[in-house]
């Protein structure tokens, strides 16, 4: 019979043996619990075994979200690192190619119009079509929207529907409230499917808005697919230089919080109306 101390010692030795060959002990418990390798906690774990200075490695990992301290098997990535990468890439791809759910838009009271792109595939390969509303959309806007508002806000999928779903319900009401507080008229909001940034120029022309603001999903990275940007223009029209756009990017839970972004963008819009300018023409202060 083995006593407990002996069993414990053997277990320890086995773990030590395993770690020697680069398999962290934690990996074995994960197999049993079905733990999510893509959770923030899992990602903070270090797969590199026996670093010369473990404390320094922790500090380095805190200094960057880059995938460091990942270790290796031969000259290749450990299985877990490789699979985590694939999971993050899958999320990013889904963010690009999935649609925003109709329910989500309904709850925000937004109706949907479409650009000249008929599907995602056309959308990603034809930026020119993603900048133009289809004739039916033009008609809908003319019927449903308030004309010549001070500010026209709308949302578009851009390159991440995930970003729209993560941020829109937070940013939109704060932005609308803040603009109303300033005594500005805010146009009827809506959602553009297959919309690129430049579609705001077309929207501004149709509705005669002084300032147009599109809230859309940024091209996702592996770190987050939730990042949203706002592009703002004073007196936008089709064919104007890109330098007329003012951009507020990196809106997501680990960047600029959506509610704070809404309040900040309202101030920027106030400035644009006061100066009658946007983009590179907009002076600070």
């Amino acid at each position: 019979m083995l006593d407990e101390a002996t069993i414990a010692r053997i277990a320890e030795e086995v773990i030590r043996e395993l770690t020697k060959y680069g398999v962290p002990a934690a990996e074995h418990t994960k197999q049993e619990t079905g733990e999510d390798i893509d959770s923030p906690e899992s990602k903070r774990e270090t797969l590199l075994t026996n670093p010369q200075d473990g404390e320094a490695l922790q500090k380095m990992k805190r200094a960057t979200t880059a995938r460091i301290g990942v270790g290796r098997c031969g000259p290749r990535l450990n299985t877990r690192t490789m699979l985590t990468l694939r999971a993050d890439h899958a999320k990013a791809r889904d963010a690009v190619f999935a649609d925003v759910t109709p329910n989500f838009l309904e709850e925000l009271g937004l109706f949907t119009v479409q650009t000249c792109c008929g599907d995602k595939n056309t959308y990603v390969t034809r930026p020119d079509l993603g900048r133009k509303l289809c004739p039916e959309a033009v008609e809908t806007l003319e019927q449903k929207c308030r004309k010549r508002p001070d500010v026209q806000i709308f949302a578009a999928d851009g390159l991440s529907s995930t970003a729209v779903e993560a941020n829109l319900s937070r940013i939109l009401p704060v932005l609308t409230d803040s603009l109303t507080d300033k005594g500005l008229t805010v146009g009827t909001p809506f959602y553009v499917r297959f919309g690129r940034v430049g579609v705001e120029d077309h929207v501004a022309e149709i509705l005669g808005a002084k300032v147009v603001c599109v809230l859309l999903g940024e091209r996702p990275g592996l770190a987050t697919a939730e990042s949203m940007s706002a592009y703002l223009v004073y007196n936008a029209h089709v064919g104007m230089p890109e330098s007329k756009r003012t951009v507020v990017s990196n809106i997501h839970k680990n960047g600029l919080a959506a509610v704070e972004a809404g309040a900040y963008i309202a101030d920027v819009i106030g400035k644009m109306l006061a100066q009658k300018a946007s983009g590179v023409d907009l002076k600070k202060g």
Partner: protein, 456 residues
């Protein structure tokens, strides 16, 4: 000069050499977007047939951007080696292709040939090459360049270590840098893409790179890839750098959109001669990529392969230390999927070498493109076989600042082993001294970034 042919019983006529070049290109979404691509696969082949019969002179005399309007065209035409050109001006493009591939043609022959070719001819030959042709031809040639170390020797595969950070945190950058060094990455360059293109931000990072390079006596090069004018200002104010970087395009209009001219590049060169920390003759770094001219409406109706060739024609005039195509960064509007990206990577590498520039490749893809890590691993293996000077390295392949993926630090180590390649010689000696590499392989110590932390 004949701009038509009969193929499979059908007659195909093209309006100009520019039209032939565009339609002879392998299928690219960017050329479709520009409205200049072949309408059918058969038309594409017909264009190739017509192209194969055109002469070197035809292509030289019909640059896709007029001489009068464009300094890239002027640079290219005016610096042509006329002795070589006179010898071959009557050759058909098919002949040029076969000459390059012929057993009798040596590396020196191809290098000499390149000096007599304009960008349009280089692009033309490329369009007649299959993928393996591109690899085989490129493998015949090595283009070396020297800064602190010499890049491009046969038998080596170098890497640019790219330790990007989402807010330019110097500590975060250093952490990624140490990780990379511990995998034997960084022999071509320690090079950061900054978030903030300001003199103070660039200077801070350059000082850290310089300090690390000196502290550990690393035989390599450093650079922070801000805009060329920001880098010039930083160096004027005393920032240490080995190389100055700029993204370039194949037309003057494209370069203007990038915010510089040939005068700016000349200023950078003379400044580095005086104040740069690089020891050798080659102190510039250029990046290119198919499609960038179209994206700034500076393509003059020409296809993206031809415009790309013009980048190399421009680059070679300034004797850079390194040039790479950032092949998959631009997005699916220009390169739709992995097939197009891999083709473009092989094309760019071949054209760069034939033009005489020391060519590397950022084998990369964005998340809205139909490609994944497997595809760029394929591309890097193909290019390493073709004798590419360097590829990139980032932590586990994920660049947290540019939000795209490229080769992992690990990849170069694996590629070197598979193909029997080595890091740049001095750098390999250094890796051995640090205990990271032994007999061309990573040691047990490799992959531990904390071997560089010096807690005192």
């Amino acid at each position: 000069m004949t701009l038509f042919t009969v193929l499979s019983g059908k007659t195909f006529t093209f309006s100009s050499i520019k039209d032939v070049l565009a339609k002879a290109s392998e299928k690219k979404s960017g050329d479709i977007l520009a409205g200049i691509a072949a309408a059918s696969d058969l038309e594409r082949v017909a264009a190739k047939v017509v192209l194969s019969r055109l002469t070197v002179r035809d292509l030289r005399e019909n640059p896709v951007v007029p001489y009068e309007d464009d300094e890239v065209t002027r640079l290219n035409q005016d610096s042509l080696d006329m002795t070589v050109y006179q010898e071959i001006s009557g050759w058909s493009i098919a002949q040029v292709r076969e000459y390059i591939l012929d057993y009798k043609t040596t590396e020196a022959d191809i290098k000499r040939l390149g000096r007599g070719l304009t960008a349009e001819t280089v692009a033309g030959v490329c369009k007649l090459m299959s993928n393996l042709d591109l690899i085989y031809a490129a493998n015949k040639v090595r283009v070396m360049a020297t800064c602190n170390t010499t890049i491009g020797r046969r038998g080596t595969l170098a890497t640019r270590l790219q330790p990007n950070h989402s807010t330019d945190s110097v500590e975060g950058i250093t952490a990624s840098l140490f990780e990379g060094l511990s995998y034997g990455s960084g022999d071509a360059l320690l090079g950061l893409n900054p978030v903030n293109d300001t003199v103070s931000s660039l200077t801070e990072v350059l000082k850290r790179f310089d300090e690390i390079k000196n502290r550990f006596e690393i035989p390599t090069q450093i650079c922070v890839l801000g805009h060329i004018t920001t880098q010039i200002e930083a160096v004027k104010r005393g920032a240490p750098t080995d190389l100055i970087f700029q993204s370039i395009a194949g037309s003057q209009k494209g370069n203007t959109a990038f915010g510089f001219s040939t005068d700016t590049v000349r200023e950078a060169l003379s400044l580095l001669k005086e104040k740069g920390t690089g020891k050798g003759e080659n102190v510039l770094y250029f990046e290119t990529g198919q499609g960038s001219e179209l994206s700034s409406d500076a393509h003059y109706g020409a296809d993206q392969v031809t415009m790309e060739a013009r980048c190399y024609a421009f680059a070679r005039e300034f004797h850079p230390f390194m040039v790479n195509t950032v092949v998959g960064f631009i997005g699916p509007e220009y390169l739709y999927d992995s097939k197009q990206v891999i083709r473009a990577g092989l094309e760019d590498h071949f054209m760069g070498k034939l033009s005489g520039v020391p060519m590397g490749c950022d084998c990369c893809y964005t998340n809205h493109m139909l490609a994944d890590q497997n595809d760029i691993e394929n591309l890097s293996l193909l290019l390493a076989s073709a004798g590419v000077n360097y590829i990139l390295g980032v932590p586990a392949g994920d660049d947290i600042m540019l939000n795209y993926q490229t080769n992992a630090y690990h990849d170069a180590a694996a590629l070197r082993e598979v193909l029997g390649l080595h890091p740049i010689w001095e750098f390999e000696k250094w890796l051995e001294k640090m205990g990271i590499m032994e007999n061309g392989r990573l040691t047990a110590k490799a992959g531990d970034p904390t071997i560089f932390t010096q807690r005192r």
